[in-house]
Amino acid sequence: MEVAPFPFAHELTPGESYAPLQFRISPEVNQQFLFALEDYRQEYLGTHERPAIVHPVLLLHMSARTRSPSFRLAPGIGSVFARDVVEFSRHALVDEPLTVCWTILDVYERRGRLYQALDTVVINDEGQQVLRREAHSVFFTDSGVLPTKPVSGRTP
């Protein structure tokens, strides 16, 4: 049986989700981001007594919806962040298993553009919340034509 492809990002409706992602941040990737930001605090490098903590921006980076295995953009459509509300709840440690889940909160139009609001939660292996964010993204096209607003109840 042929498996239907995941819907395009702009087709999702409120209540639908992107596929969750499980990940771990290695010390090397953490340090790569320290270079990207020129931010070499000891807490991100760790010591013999204390494991390194993940730079918070890496949690944002990994919880962007583009990281979801089901995220895909339609040809000719781009999308960037417009607004982001983040609440940090606890450290994440390097090499700690983490999971990120995304649920569409809202789809709306503003100034002729299509926006998508997403509830995003990152949890650790014990189910504890590491961060929660509400991210709003705008879709744009190279032709300037607005992607069609999705219709609720569409079967993915």
């Binding site: 605090r41 962007a64 960037v80």
Partner: protein, 152 residues
Amino acid sequence: MTGPSNQAPVFEIGRIVVGRTLKLTMARTLAFSGGALDEPGWPQQNLHTSRDKALEAGLDAIIASGTQSEGLLIGLLIDTFGDRWHRAGTLEVRFLKPVRVGDSVRPGLRWSNRVDGLDSPRWVADVWCENGAGVRVVEGTASCIAPEDSLA
């Protein structure tokens, strides 16, 4: 920035605190948006790493990820709030303009309110990032519980 400032943060409504400037060079942008260095085919091709992808998306140049500027802002907030930021920090930002690779970004904040809670007060600030021309590319608000050593 190589680490937090040794100077104790001053919490005072109206006071402005600015962070250090970072040039978002191609190397730093690739490190941020190119994927893990040991990934096959590194860097990932996207509008933060590839001119072709940027043009394909309707942009006229490669732009740095907005999250990279947000990361600089978070650095300033951790300088200010210390470890508490990781457990009680909240940040709301709007991305106003893209930052082209090679441009600089500097974060800043201005204390706007103090909300007294059961234990420690929560300080609220207007926050922003400016590009090299002094134009705001990110702005919003942040809040966190003040660190113990800042309380009178």
